[in-house]
Symmetry: C2
């Protein structure tokens, strides 16, 4: 499979968990790896909500990919948006600043991850940003802290209430963690900073279309998560659908089918996942279909049907019963990498990917998390310690671990938020996008004396 | 001067050194302080270049003003762009999201600081950002690290050289510190991360129109600073004027009058200072003139002529022989605050502001700074220790001090840059502004295979 003189060329698309772990697993293989991603960083997505709520900085959860791979001399990192994959010519096309580059491969690992799905209501995105990238989190940070700033200026009580209402859509781990942090921010983090209202009066709603939070953790943990969030002051709305989102608020369908309007300046969308459009592109080229989430069916060894040299891992692959968690991507990336090096070395190796379920974890508040790890199903302090250890373990780099630990001490033992600074440009962009500037009258928000 | 029932109302414009220290000095005075600024943070401007070069995070050098003033119950913080000051009605008008607010005052402290001056060539700003706000620094961070990313993609050697050329305009402390850090980044920070070039091959030019760097530190220190920078690999160009700046580079006038064209993707402007436009506004209202830098003449007690209730402090005030450093703003802010409380308490107090020159400091590289403090005029390690202690001392908050110290260890003892993460949006905005996308052909940069 290799040419005699040039090493086997592996192209990895995506610098998330799948792509990064595939690349790292190939560090001693006789290959030349090219990792292509449109960003220059590896994003530790499970902590994105802490960037949005001012606990951590960009650098802590998103180290530059080339710094992570500095010592791995058989890997190079290229920034570029992948626009095409030619399965016959075995090339990947990527673009930066309007210029295209074509990179040939002998083996390809597609790990482009997923974006947020608005279930066909893409218009919601403007008003209810998702939580998938650093930009998303910075946008939300600007909106969250901006809403408090505007509330301090607001003299109309109804308008102030709307500014101090936060709606999180989606009761999965991201939604639960975000709602918990928004409540902690209101009740602890911002206490005493405002003169015209008490930050603890802020309302946080968590809206879930299904009958339970944290679907997949089991009934008991779901119920206890709901209780814990309610104790924190979060209003949990189950069996409730979001049918409209605009600058001024959200329209809900209650469980009994009756409509409800909630005026809220800040909305967060954490409800659906849609695999990278590269999935659809590969589906078209191979005649395979994707599922509702845009995921591709893969062979048992994670390769693309008819293309044993192409692997699809992480959020993009469709495997029955597989949750969209980092572990699936990490294990998939490692498996694909081993498959490539096994072939090159003429070893047989494992030809079927088996996902080792390491369980699921979600934080609710400081010192409190939910854990579903093997037979252990618990909520509370020990679950939180487990959450802390596991997250520190998978963070990249000693430096970031130390720095994150310090910021957690600041926010959880203390009550501060070290990284809540919003720039003028971020605030302005965010207010424009949120429709606060244009729709201020209609929305009744941001009115000043 | 006070009404019997309502406390004396002080409005402070600006949350920089002058405004913040004025507000804090009033904490025990029988007044109600309203601090108005268009941003929600107190910016520690002397470390802005470390944000731009990936050493520190936004939160570390710009804590939220209302968090700093949380316990000062006689102070409130309002976000707003000040658009007018009515000296007769004694009101300040500010705007947010198109809505105006009018805030009445009994005493006013105007500490709106300064922006960058392009000496009439405002068109340069697009291509050579200044270093005055967090947004400026983030923009520069995106350009600096983006240029390296594009260089890794570039196959044309001349174009790559242009991407790896950094021009800093202005040989004052900011320019010197920025040039030094850019050189350290190239020689140490980024070593080993790129596969198609050696980061140490990057060129850093420091262009100064006058005959010496760090004007004000004295001839000997200027010469030694130049030597140190040159040892680091910075090309120092004295007596050299920048006559043109565009997407592809800069046009210089050499000391002998001959023209020189330097192709450079990244340009930083640190050359001139222009006081806030509020200076001109007050000048118009009082019939006073401003100087070339837009600064207002003030009475010996820092008040505005004919308006003993209005104080002008920091970069906006015109005092002979006063450098534009943080100490002038801090001492001016404190003086104005004491003047207000002395009056209210019927104490005479000092009626003439005297600036206590605490000296000047600038870093060149790790372990190396220049100090001109009283009789001490030195460069090297001990100057650097002094620089470190003084900067930590004036940083706001124990938490930020600890965190900054840790990041300094990362960058100066180690060689990493913990906070160099650039988002896709920042990179895109920055490339657009820099003209990289539009002028890529002309500039010869960002060309891909």
């Amino acid at each position: 499979m290799t040419e005699p003189t040039t090493p086997h060329r592996v192209v990895v698309i995506g610098s998330g968990f799948g792509g990064l772990f595939a690349t790292k697993t190939l560090r001693r293989a006789p290959v030349q790896v090219t990792l292509i991603d449109r960003t220059s960083h590896h994003l530790f997505q499970p902590l994105l909500y802490q960037l949005a709520t001012g606990i951590l900085s960009e650098g802590e959860i998103a180290p530059p990919t080339r710094e992570v791979l500095r010592r791995q001399k058989n890997a190079r990192v290229l920034v570029g948006e992948v626009t095409g994959i030619d399965l016959d010519a075995r090339t990947v096309t990527s673009r930066v600043l309007g210029r295209s580059r074509t990179t040939p491969y002998d083996s390809l690992v597609v790990a482009a991850g997923s974006g947020q799905s608005y279930f066909g209501n893409d218009g919601f995105a403007e008003y209810a940003p998702s939580m998938k990238s650093i930009d998303d989190a910075l946008r939300l940070r600007a909106r969250i802290f901006g809403a408090y700033e505007l509330a301090e200026l607001e003299e109309d009580e109804a308008a102030r209430t709307a500014l101090l209402t936060f709606v999180v859509v989606g009761g999965g781990p991201t939604g639960v963690e975000m709602a918990g942090q928004l409540a902690e921010l209101a009740r602890r983090g911002l206490r005493g900073e405002f003169r015209s209202f008490d930050s603890a009066s802020a309302r946080v709603l968590l809206v879930e279309a299904g009958p339970a939070l944290l679907n997949g953790f089991g009934e008991r943990l779901s119920a206890r998560t709901k209780q814990s969030l309610e104790k924190l002051g979060v209003e949990v709305r189950l069996d409730t659908k979001v049918v409209g989102v605009d600058a001024a608020g959200v329209d809900l369908h209650r469980p009994d089918g009756s409509p409800e309007r909630v005026r809220a300046a800040t909305k967060v969308w954490a409800a659906g996942v849609a695999a990278s459009p590269l999935g659809g592109l590969l589906a078209g080229a191979t005649g395979l279909g994707t599922n509702r989430s845009g995921q591709l069916p893969v062979e048992p060894d994670l390769s693309l049907r008819g293309h044993p040299e192409v692997f699809v891992v992480g959020d993009m692959m469709q495997l029955p019963g597989k949750p969209a968690v980092a572990q699936v991507a990490i294990q998939g990336g490692r498996f694909a990498a081993r498959r490539i090096s096994d072939r090159l070395r003429g070893r047989s190796g494992a030809d079927t990917f088996r996902y080792h379920d390491k369980g699921m974890l979600a934080t609710i508040s400081r010192f409190r998390a939910v854990a579903s790890v093997g037979p252990i199903r618990t909520t509370g302090f020990w679950a939180w310690i487990l959450w802390l250890v596991v997250h520190l373990m998978y963070l990249i780099g000693f430096r970031n671990r130390l720095s994150v630990l310090m910021h957690w001490a600041v926010s959880f033992v203390g009550r501060g938020r070290a990284e809540r600074t919003v720039t003028l440009r971020q605030a302005g962009l965010s207010a424009n996008e949120a429709g606060l500037a244009d729709h201020a009258d209609e929305a009744g928000v941001a009115r000043q004396g």
